[in-house]
């Protein structure tokens, strides 16, 4: 008696892979384990994915969608006219996501043959839309200086992602005594950057 998955096997595999990734890390993630936990034979995944890399790309894509959701929720908890507070809240949500799901972030920023995965590329770009909108709003309402908003968005993203990436790899590094939470470190660093892009000098203080 053969059990079929009624067309949702693809999504089941992505979810199982995401859960296995969280518990065992990217090294311990094998196609055969994923298939086994999903209750299918070890080569059933090839019905839905070209190879293992394609499964990881789909997991990465889902990661960007989740990241975008959490960042948007953090922004929406702020006063709608305080652009600086919103940018800080978005940064804090980003690093929190990263620290809570380090292996997922690693898969999201592995080097794929990006031409093979256009949906992954667009998911990564979409996850930045909200940040870009904030930068443009800040320029309109007089919070941020004029300048290329794409560059300014990338400046914030780079700083926040770099902090997350470094913290995952070298949590115990003594370069910064980590008495502060990762969110508080992000706040300090991004405030330095926003001081450089703000109309009012040292708005923080």
């Amino acid at each position: 008696v053969v059990k079929y998955h009624h067309g949702d096997l693809r999504n089941v595999l992505i979810q199982v892979a995401t859960k296995l990734l969280a518990t065992e890390g990217v090294q311990g993630l094998s196609l055969r384990k994923i298939a086994g936990q999903a209750g299918v034979s070890h080569n059933a995944p090839y019905m839905h994915f070209a190879d293992k890399e394609a499964v990881l790309a789909a997991v990465a894509e889902a990661g960007f969608q989740l990241l975008a959701t959490e960042v948007a929720a953090a922004i929406d908890r702020c006063h709608p006219n305080d652009t600086r507070q919103q940018l800080i809240a978005a940064s804090r949500a980003y690093v929190r996501f990263a620290i809570d799901r380090p292996h997922h972030l690693q898969v999201m920023f592995s080097a794929y043959d990006i031409e093979r995965y256009p949906d992954l590329l667009s998911a990564s770009e979409t996850s930045l839309n909200r940040l870009f909108d904030l930068v443009e709003a800040g320029q309109t309402n007089g919070t941020l200086i004029a300048g290329n908003p794409h560059e300014m968005t990338k400046a914030i993203w780079s700083m926040v992602h770099g902090l997350a990436s470094i913290s995952i790899a070298y949590q115990t590094s003594s370069i910064l005594p980590e008495r502060d939470s990762i969110e508080d470190v992000a706040t300090i660093l991004v405030n330095h950057l926003l001081d450089g892009m703000a109309i009012d000098r040292h708005q923080t203080q």
Copy 2:
């Protein structure tokens, strides 16, 4: 007739692994290939390393030493009293290193059990010493504002490393039309940050 490696097999393995990493990527790197290219049996590496992860940690450590050398050389090509130019030069050297050796950077920032590799941790910290010295010099000579120099160093490192990491994974991303070289993008972004940490507002212009 058995050929011995006279005690340098450990370093030979690190060099062979680094070369294989550059050509085949981290996925295609196997202990057995490394041993084969080094001309020894597939389990000779276990004489010098506990397991595969230990080999990768040694490759990562060598990467930080090389990175520190290239960043220092870039700084030394600047006018010795222009702290801002030196910080920009260090940033440009960092992203150039990353783009030239994407797989090496990936291994340098994988999540190791850092307690097992104290030499890797100290190599990563040492590679930042020169940047930290620049920040302190900038505070002394009136280029940079007062503030925790560890935080300010981490702010620069995070931005530069984040840009490198994002660029490796999503080179063709349309969020920023990449007419500029990676070094020029780094210069633009870091200048935004330095504006926020500079005594003179918009020193760039």
